[in-house]
Amino acid sequence: MDFELSPEQKLILETVRRFVREEIVPLEADLDPDASELPPHHRERLVAMTKELGFYGLDIPEEYGGPGIDLTTRTLMAFEMAQHRAGLYAPCYGVFGGAGLAQLYEADDDQKERYLYPVLRGEKRGFFALTEPSGGSDPARAIRMTAVRDGDDWILDGEKTFISGADKADFGIVFARTDPELGRKGITCFLVDTDMPGFRVRRIVHTLRSTHYAAELEFNRVRVPGRNVLGEVNQGFAIANDRLSRNRIPYAAGCVGVALKAQEMAIAYAKTRKTFGDYLSTRQAVQWMIVDNEIDLRTARALTLEAAARADTGRPFRTEAAICKLVASEGASRVVDRAMQIHGGYGMTKDLPLERWYRELRIRRVGEGPNEIQRLIVARDVIGGSFH
């Protein structure tokens, strides 16, 4: 594939790079090393800047007011936007805006009025609840939450876990089993308001990622009106699956972004730090670590762009998305690990962002589908669904 950048892409990337280095990175000197939010006045100022640049709401479809930038360019931008301390899970602290929950674009007009448009206006927040204590890797079989029809309504009973943002949300996109006999064809997607009786945030789940924590949720006979079924009854798994595949490309891009920055830091440090009378960069042991970093980086970058390019041109990209997600998350973990080794003791401290990336990248090998599931997706494609 030819990844020669167009003049427009070069201009966009240069603009984003300068934005990150001149507007975001300096603010981090005063923030807690684990922070993932900017003080409100800085956030408002920077959102105004991204709107002025025409980059706000990057992932919002053009017909809903997004800037209409293709996925390949957005992936290149994501490489840049992740190159700061909070960049993996809070690229540019969200000042480029988000798309909300992609499933809402498939909602009917009434649901769009009640959920999608308020989200795009910043008036409502939502969460995505698929994973349960019984498992998340195989949702079609693991979902035990039930939804039983009662007149025009549905009664939801069950639990969800590892759900981000639920404690601050107004509603959730929740998957429940509506036909126990039909496996993946017996799952339905519901829009559940968090003030519906029976909904409860049970507890916060503390993880390696100190901010953007997850929560455990309880649904105790939550009555949901029939008009809150998103999509068709028993067709919820397709909605979930589509989201999972699409999310893997930006998920990979974030990994590549922090790894690019870690490599830049490792090279700069190796060229200034002396041991036994000469620079670390003259030591073959260090040179090879930097070379291995470069190989991991170029591989992940190319595979992520390939997946984005296929999606942009309407070709199947499920396998490519799985490959880039696993290669980027594993490769970036190695890159950051080697960068820490090159930095020695400083690499372990909260003075540098490496330790935060190290912790957060560990989650990336499990989040959005564990890498073993990505390998299974690729195996099904290259060997065949039955493995025979």
Partner: protein, 119 residues
């Protein structure tokens, strides 16, 4: 509401107690003599001497501060967020030392929206 409350023993707030504090990262609660919470906070990665300096600085802001308790944790940010949410669920408002954070930026544990959040 089943968020995990802070269950460490209360300590009298005096110079000796603060000097004995660890330099590690973690969360803390400062209260007046009657046990009313004045502030919840954390000693994060930028604190000079971890809990020791963070608690000393926070206590100095509250004239009526009389006692405190703390918990050492590397997950200080999410634990702090959790304690704020627990307090808000229990009392319907934030401690005076945290009021400027704004209830809409605090998570909700238990059932129903936070009425004061205005969302």
């Amino acid at each position: 509401m089943t968020g995990v409350r802070l269950a460490k023993p209360w300590l009298d707030l005096d110079e000796a107690a603060i000097a004995a504090l660890p330099g590690q990262l973690g969360i803390y609660e400062i209260a007046d003599a009657k046990g009313g919470t004045l502030e919840l906070g954390f000693a994060g990665g930028r604190s000079r001497f971890g809990l020791r300096s963070a608690i000393a600085e926070a206590a100095a802001k509250h004239e009526s501060a009389a006692r405190f308790r703390y918990e050492v944790t590397m997950q200080y940010w999410s634990r702090f967020e959790e304690l704020l949410a627990v307090y808000l669920a229990d009392h319907g408002e934030l401690p005076p030392g945290n009021a400027d954070r704004g209830e809409q930026r605090v998570g909700r544990l238990g059932a129903g929206r936070i009425a004061a959040a205005g969302r």
